[in-house]
Amino acid sequence: MNAVVRAVAGIESGTAFVRGKELDAEYPLPAPYEIESIPQLFPDPVKNFGRFPRHVRAACAACALALKAADIRHEKGERRDIALFAAGYEPTLTINREFFKDYLDAGRTMGRGNLFIYTLPTSAIAEVSIHFALTGPAIFIEADSAPFERLLDVAAQMLHQPYAPDAAVLFWQDMEKTLCVIAGPGSDGLEDNKRHDQLQHRAAKWRTPGEAIRHLKHARAVGF
């Protein structure tokens, strides 16, 4: 039971990168999360993109890059059975604080609806699922330790179930960094099992998305 990595994209302060068979590139960002400067990022405009909180914008951007690199084309109107899993609660805490503060500042009358809809930890992957028409499960999973190792494990288990999604997109975010990995079901062969085990072993040591990004930025690490 394994999952193999098909593409990796990362966004951090000053740079975005993507690694995959179909695309291997780095893009300088003029400011943290200023992803609009990445050329031809989205095949179609993302509805209400400017109103998204920045971690939601980053999730959409990282997913666009990673799907391209994994050669998963996004055709308008075409729905794909791809799962979305997310880890990293820090952006949710920040939005929650902002929503409640705004509600207090408004005299405890009405909160802002367009903030409230982003107070759930699945908000970023929900926007990703809507734009890219990904119809697999969208679930936030925060493990008691090694969050990304757990996401890989969840993907491996789910992708080998009967009637499983075709692939899984894994996100790990904090306020400054976004990691996005496309995982597909591996074969039962020795090579795929070895790649999965090696990545799991490494992921067990990552404590932050930044640590994971530092490692995965190098294509060799994921065995392309």
Binding site: T119, L120, I125, S129, I130, P137, I141, E142, V154
Partner: protein, 367 residues
């Protein structure tokens, strides 16, 4: 389980089948500010724990601890966790309290109090959180990764949650009336519910009191809208089809449906479209408990699965409180009275949530 009817599965079941709604006015939320004061709140938490949610959950943890194996994994499903800590942090300017509102702290507390040594995760999928957790638990056990998984679904009411749902104009000014022609919104509720998912061999060997068999499960997304469900219900319909395929069942095998049934116009209409498209030729009776317990958010999925399991054991399905005049699309299938279901009782339970989250679980009687 802990419901607005009090602690324990018997109190929950008896309250729901009594036909009396636990949704009522309370003084916690101002009528001047919000469209309603009505909610289904758990009476009398002790106030001794650090948050309302822990006040609700703590006595239940003590009561279930002897039955939870040490090697179990823990899946804690919640939408907002200890959100009142965040409220106090913002009101009092206490940043250290803000960090405490991280659900990993709640997870670690629950794990410690239960003496669990297995892996633990917070699972969140909006109002389908604990249904998604049940599906994940079934994945974990069926793949042999874990032999036992405790699913804990819990959410408490707070000003934050009340303000949010008010902002979205989702609350009924009176009381939730799922599938009724006059339905006008949901009522919020709070609950904690726990289900231990085990491999059958071990459950039988340990002579466990087995509530039901999880036969099929699936989660999927509408990929449609952040707050509104897909009008045609195709996301939920696909989810149900997947769960049926996994169970090796057809629509004819489903003998009752425990619907999400929030009481909002769009949710209930969407669900009926999904049920009709997948199960249309076999109009299984359906019900929603949200007119009784309110919408218990992250706890709803596991609470409703436990009620569905109880309904299998008792050959009875609960009433849909508030559905006095069922909408035309649900007429003949929804009732505000208990109904008897005999022979091969197999229940489909469904949950949906913001962002287009859908989950379906199929439960059957134990062998």
């Amino acid at each position: 389980m802990v419901t607005p009817y009090g602690p324990g599965a018997d109190a929950g079941w008896n309250g729901i089948v009594s036909g009396h709604s636990a949704i009522k006015g309370n003084c916690k939320f101002s009528r001047e500010v919000f469209i309603t004061q009505n909610a289904a709140m758990i009476p009398g938490p002790s106030g001794t724990e650090r948050s309302r949610l822990m006040d609700i959950v703590a006595p239940a943890l003590e009561s279930i601890r002897p039955r939870v194996p040490e090697d179990a994994a823990l899946l804690l499903a919640t939408t907002t966790g200890e959100i009142d800590l965040l409220e106090r942090a913002v009101i009092g300017g206490l940043p250290e309290l803000l960090e405490q509102a991280h659900p990993r702290n709640l997870l670690n507390m629950v794990k410690k109090r239960l003496g669990i040594r297995g892996p633990a995760e917070v699972i969140s999928a909006a109002c389908a959180s604990s249904a998604a957790a049940l599906a994940r638990a079934a994945d974990m056990v069926s793949t042999g990764r874990n032999r036992a998984v405790l699913v804990a679904g819990c959410d408490a009411l707070s000003e934050f949650v009340f303000a949010g749902f008010s902002t979205l104009m989702a609350l009924s000014p009176t009381r939730a009336r799922p599938f009724d022609c006059r339905r006008d919104g949901l009522s919020l509720g709070e609950a904690a519910a726990f289900a231990l998912v085990m491999e059958p061999e071990r459950a039988y060997a340990e002579k466990r009191d087995i509530n039901a068999r999880i036969m099929g499960w699936a989660s999927a997304s509408d990929a449609n809208h952040m707050t509104g469900p897909s009008r045609e219900g195709e996301g939920l319909a696909e989810t149900i089809k997947k769960a049926l395929r996994m169970a090796g069942l057809t629509s004819r095998d489903i003998t009752s449906i425990c619907a999400h049934g929030t009481g909002t116009v769009y949710n209930d209409a969407m669900e009926m479209k999904a049920f009709n498209s997948v199960l249309g030729n076999v109009p299984a009776p359906l019900y929603s408990i949200k007119g009784s317990t309110g919408h218990t958010m992250g706890a709803a999925g596991v609470l409703e699965a436990l009620i569905a399991a109880e309904s299998i054991k008792k050959d009875t399905i609960p009433p849909t409180v508030g559905a006095e005049e069922p909408h035309a699309d649900a007429a003949g299938r929804v009732s505000d009275q208990c109904r008897e279901i005999k022979d091969n009782h197999t229940v489909l339970t469904t949950n949906s949530g913001f962002g287009g989250a859908n989950s379906a679980i199929i439960l059957g009687a134990t062998q």
